[in-house]
Point group: C2
Chain length 359, copies 2
């Protein structure tokens, strides 16, 4: 039986497997510390398209194509696709995925959407509603600046607390045990026959979920989203430790999506007040993906592509290599819009935690 | 065992029950043909708030409060809340639901979101991940006009093919059989002791789902969204009939969300070409909710509040009264944004079908 745990968590009866994944990023991400790990690095931010929005759509399309290919699947083999992005009315998704004709469940959780898509994908497989599903999210620096701040042409100044939206899309194929056992031998093999990878095996397995609630501390600075999201991250993590009766040291890493350097400090402080010290285990995808000093990315990377491509390219590889056994992967989202900001509203946060273990 | 049916459908092993529901609408909806059936009709469109966006948030908040109250629940009794709206970054949801502190899964499916929320809510209950969940969606005429077309102050003209976004929010509590058996006797009773209703019993049960895919016929007229969405509605319905091996006459009503008069004609014609005649069974919430002639609403009502309040206030009452036994409820969404429209993109559609049967 699938099990509801405590207030906000779920433990599937059988693990749900990450059968394959793919990451597609822009050139700046390709120049960052994780650059060599991504599947595709674009030559420029337009990816051959005429608008930034179309470029973001093409990222999703490419990431899904690659993830399906690695799992030896055709689009028709996927039961559902759980997808979202940051743009108003999720247009990167709508125009990126239509050609696949996969039944679509559109999501919006700001930069937490990768966690939300893995959460609902896991529920749909564990619940017996599909053998295999696809989860995909994206963000694009230029389309996000236009959507949330100013078009790039304005040349506005950014404070040091601001994040840099990652141009990238990460896609994941989830499946049940039978789907994992049936993976083609080439799936997960390292390119050029290099050692490592997980040839013919799933990349990892999802064994627990904690769904976040909206947390609003009343902060209004959209140029300091790390601080706005950290209370939500702390809330979900605390709930996770309670629901699973676990402690930080039960995990090799506790990984947030895009809190950045300021949000990281706030999160660690908030959890210390609750009696949990995660300073040893904490890692933030937004801090890892760029070299803040040489790349001038201020507080760090952000966007729902940030955590997705870091999971696909870096975190899953660490699990496959045996460096880590069990991690919490928790993308974090800031629930604001241009309109809510202009109307003087606060920036609430939300974060969804996914427990991922090595196979 | 929960069952995946065909390409895009799901049949839960046990039905999932609609334990309670609530509808909150604006004054124009209150003056329409269904006006007397809604739970709350606002005195004006601001609902005591200072912005249209806040007004829409207050609709969601009120609808959820009422649905929980009718089911004899506190917010802490709900496992998850599946919620969405039409505004960029779903701000009506983010600012409407934060006080409930229910683990939130934010959705975006344009005006199909009510169907998507019932779909995922049903999966989460049938999958054993929660005993009770809440599904809520909203739209607001003024916030939607500002988001998609022009602020009302511009006084722009609207063609006769345009829809009128419904100001309203519908909320539903779904639960498993045990939750249905434990409903308080007052739940579902008619006000003032009138006969009818379903005192102490669930309102209806959900017995099947068909998840829609994005369908893009290349239409670009955002003032004729019925025609843009009709191909998606036809696609989902055809898939539904195939997956369930059913025919239109197996349902008392086949109910779309907001195709309006033009979209209705397109849908019926498209399905006729596929060999399905739904002209007898078809009903559209957007056509029912307003009196187009006296209320000057052109093609009909729209918005993800439109189908939600019509389901709560009208459709479920017909099922409770025994007038209908089994219906397909299929909200329809147009996947556009201001940005995609300005960039000359088409308006793809999506529609999710939910089979609802009398208890």
């Amino acid at each position: 039986m699938n099990q509801k745990l405590g207030r906000a968590s779920v433990k599937p009866e059988q693990p749900v497997y990450i059968l394959s994944s793919a990451s597609v990023v822009g050139p700046k991400e390709g120049q960052g510390p994780l650059g060599l790990l991504f599947d595709v690095v674009g030559e420029d931010d337009m990816f051959g398209c005429e608008t930034w929005e179309d470029a973001e759509s093409s990222l999703q399309k490419k990431a899904v194509a690659l993830a399906l290919e690695k799992a030896g699947m055709q689009p028709g083999d996927a039961g559902f696709i759980f997808a979202g992005d940051l743009l108003g009315q999720s247009i990167a998704t709508s125009f990126g995925l239509s050609s696949y004709e996969i039944p679509l469940l559109g999501l919006y959780g700001a930069c937490s959407t990768c966690g939300e898509s893995l959460t609902l994908g896991t529920m749909s497989v564990a619940g017996g509603f599909a053998d295999k599903v696809v989860c995909v999210t994206s963000s694009h620096f230029a389309s996000a600046e236009k959507e949330f701040r100013f078009p790039l042409e304005y040349g506005n100044q950014r404070p040091l607390s601001a994040c840099w939206t990652v141009t990238g899309s990460g896609a994941f194929v989830l499946g049940d045990k039978a789907a994992g056992d049936a993976l083609p031998a080439a799936c997960g093999a390292m390119p050029d026959g290099k050692p490592g990878g997980s040839a013919g095996r799933p990349r990892a397995r999802i064994t627990g979920l904690t769904v976040g609630k909206i947390v609003d501390y009343g902060l209004k600075d959209s140029m300091n989203m790390g601080a706005c999201m950290a209370p939500a991250a702390a809330s979900t993590l605390e709930q996770h430790f309670i629901d699973f009766a676990s402690q930080p040291e039960d995990y090799d890493k506790i990984i947030t999506g895009d809190l950045g350097k300021i949000g990281q400090k706030v999160l660690i402080d908030l959890l210390c007040e609750k009696g949990y010290d995660i300073s040893e285990q904490h890692m933030d995808c937004g801090i890892e993906i760029f070299d803040g000093e040489s790349q001038d990315t201020h507080a760090g990377g952000s966007g729902c592509g940030c955590s997705a491509v870091t999971l696909s390219a870096y975190i899953l590889k660490q699990l496959e290599a045996g460096n880590w056994k069990k991690v919490i992967f928790m993308p974090t989202g800031a629930l604001l819009s241009k309109t809510s900001f202009n109307e003087g509203k606060s920036v609430p946060g939300i974060a969804h935690a996914v427990v991922i273990e090595a196979c």
